[in-house]
Symmetry: C2
Subunit: 412 residues, 2 copies
């Protein structure tokens, strides 16, 4: 029998009733597969534990924080196994340590180094369903580590890779990946197939259904990844595949919106080597990630403006860093704007359709929407616009590229 | 520096405020000791987890139940370490598995087989306070096991034995062991020193401050055990020692009351070999423990009555077993009474004072309290009486032996 990995997030196991629903999905699949079921902590457990930690200590030790948070998944796996037993199927829970998931010796954001699958496989070969704790592993000393953001998705894909699984199904509370957020665009359409690269770009610029880290890992190991709905398990969902395997693809697959954006600019910085390095090193020291970095050269005056975006929560800290830089670099000043949003289109076919950027910019302009910054990759175009235009922009672009119907598939 | 083990129960860590209190007790002791701190799950965590398990499954798998319950202590140890860090002391949490606590391959009631202390000792030698999860270990396969009743006390004593600790302090919500329950006897007096044997008898017949299993282990390994108050940590508490080390002892150390008792009798059983064995094997098959077993021979009639006590919750199940036995053995019938209580006196000096049983029985008789059953050991006398006389009896006996003042110490 082939190996199948299923992953259920926190909302899928947040109550006893939902745990029983997961057990029924799992046991249906168990008849035709060797099954590994990765689960997250129940609903708000992680937040509850973090709150306790904050009450005890202002800056919790990361090793202890990992030991604390890992209990969340340990509770879920035991309960899911009990629910599977109730349906008469053999199952066993394994913690990160028992799964043989060895990570770097780093806490709260560890990366997986190796998975020793002997124990896991011996259960699978006996026909026992393995319920695996997501998000956690152990370092070589045997301390509990956690994987940080996207951790449970990453555990699922990593296990699928280590076991040579036929597929990895990520169960969530929607039926798959949409051409746009259905809460924002009523005509949004479910995407049946999408390439890893497109999904990666979509996840990076606001599609929350899959974490980019897990998508990247799936791409690297060529894992067939499916996004499916816990509350509509018959639905086939969205399949992620290598673009090379797909005969046709769309020039534009989807449009995303990220409102967690703020824009900053440092004005009239001396245009000398190393200046940009100094600014972004200073931001990095404060753990602020900058995105959409644009340097506009003021011809002939030996100075330049440098603009970029940060997450809205980082704006104040970033402003402080820049204010210091203004003095040190002899710049003119700092501008900031927190009322911006990033609207992006993603498509593996973008590079073959050079008209698409122009069509997008023109449509926004005709609607009176000002584009403040632009950045592009081979398969993505992002525009920073005013936050109050965000909703209008995403709907307009969705219509422009006929995403509701799927623009006519185009061969290579 | 000597090794000291401190143990804090669930009520001592049931809130963030209490965890901080524990940290302050711990750090005071850390200045003069290599310190191991054993903690239980916070307050009602274990009950909460059991409730979840019951909602998922009527008869939870024991391996999974252990994995589930062990999270309770894992949460506590991480939070206690964070609280110790806040006070500026180095500390690290270790789960049962990380402590090297190897148990039998039995779930929910495992006994400790071995403790591999290398890792634990390397932290102690570096001056790091080790905060240890009570109640848990792993079986040789690496599965999480739990120790059952008295588990965290047992972990503390076992670690003290494995490390050759100078002492093991069991912190609880009272200042030590009393001559009687202070809630029942207002003149109850704190006992400064008590022998393992006396404590063992007291714990078995109703004193709840220490679990008999932990006392037994301490006696076997000659661990200096102290019962102390989390909320009055300066108080010296009660010290448990070998009686041989004590120059003086009291004929009666304390009086206990156990209301969780019911009485059963099977009447006119044929008085032939193997009959008692059959009855108590049948009870054992239903996991019912019988206590105070008394067989009264009816002279010349070839039949006998067999009486015993069980925990009140076991009465109904025990009655059913006996009703079957009546038919099989050709007995006359079954009597039961759930309104009984066991009042006991304990003292290492009892065997040297043969007048004491008579004094106890006479005093009860004069007060109009009927004694329904009696059982004795070298250092204990227990009487089953009517539950409604229980309070009166315990106060009367406490006065009779002047336990409020400590009867004049008597040399050998």
């Amino acid at each position: 029998m082939p190996v199948l990995v299923q992953k259920f997030g926190g909302t899928s196991v947040k109550s006893v009733g939902r745990i029983k629903n997961v057990a029924s999905i799992v046991t249906r699949a168990a008849e035709h597969n060797k099954l590994v079921v990765v689960v997250s902590a129940m609903g708000d457990t992680t937040n509850y534990l973090l709150k306790l930690a904050r009450q005890v200590s202002r800056s919790s030790n990361k090793r202890e924080l990992d030991a604390l948070l890992a209990t969340g998944e340990q509770i879920s796996i035991a309960l899911v196994v009990m629910a599977i037993h109730e349906l008469g199927f053999p199952a066993v829970s394994l913690t990160g340590q028992q799964l043989g998931i060895i990570t770097e010796n780093v806490h709260t954001t560890a990366r997986i180094v190796e998975i020793k699958t002997e124990r896991l496989e011996s259960y699978l070969n006996k026909g026992v369903i393995v319920v695996a704790a997501g998000f956690q592993g152990t370092n070589p000393e045997g301390d509990i580590t956690t994987l940080g953001r996207g951790g449970s998705d990453t555990t699922a894909v990593a296990l699928a890779a280590a076991l040579g699984a036929q597929a990895c199904d990520i169960y969530t509370d929607v039926s798959g990946v949409y051409t746009a957020d259905p809460n924002l665009v009523s005509s949004a359409r479910l995407i049946n197939e999408i390439s890893y690269e497109e999904m990666l770009e979509m996840a990076r610029v606001g599609a929350k259904v899959l974490h980019p880290r897990a998508v990247e890992l799936a791409r690297k190991h060529k894992i067939l990844l499916r996004v499916r709905n816990t509350f509509d398990p018959q639905h086939p969902g969205t399949v992620l595949k290598e673009v090379a395997n797909m005969e046709v693809y769309l020039p534009v697959s989807g449009v995303t919106l990220d409102r967690d954006q703020a824009r900053l600019a440092i004005l009239k910085v001396p245009h000398t080597p190393g200046v940009a390095g100094e600014i972004f090193n200073a931001l990095d020291e404060h753990r602020i990630s900058a995105d959409m970095i644009i340097q506009a050269f003021h011809q002939g005056r030996g100075v330049t403006d440098i603009s970029f975006t940060v997450k809205r929560g980082d704006l104040e800290a970033a402003r402080k860093v820049l204010d210091e830089q203004v003095g040190q670099l002899g710049a003119d000043g700092v501008l900031s704007d927190e009322n911006v949003a990033k609207v992006s289109i993603i498509g593996a076919g973008l590079m073959d359709h050079p008209d698409i950027p122009a069509r997008m910019f023109t449509a926004l302009g005709r609607a009176g929407i000002n584009i403040e910054m632009i950045s592009t990759s081979d398969i993505r175009i992002s525009c920073i616009i005013s936050d109050r235009d965000a909703n209008r922009a995403i709907n307009l672009i969705h219509d422009l590229f006929h995403l509701d119907e799927g623009e006519a598939p185009q061969g290579e």
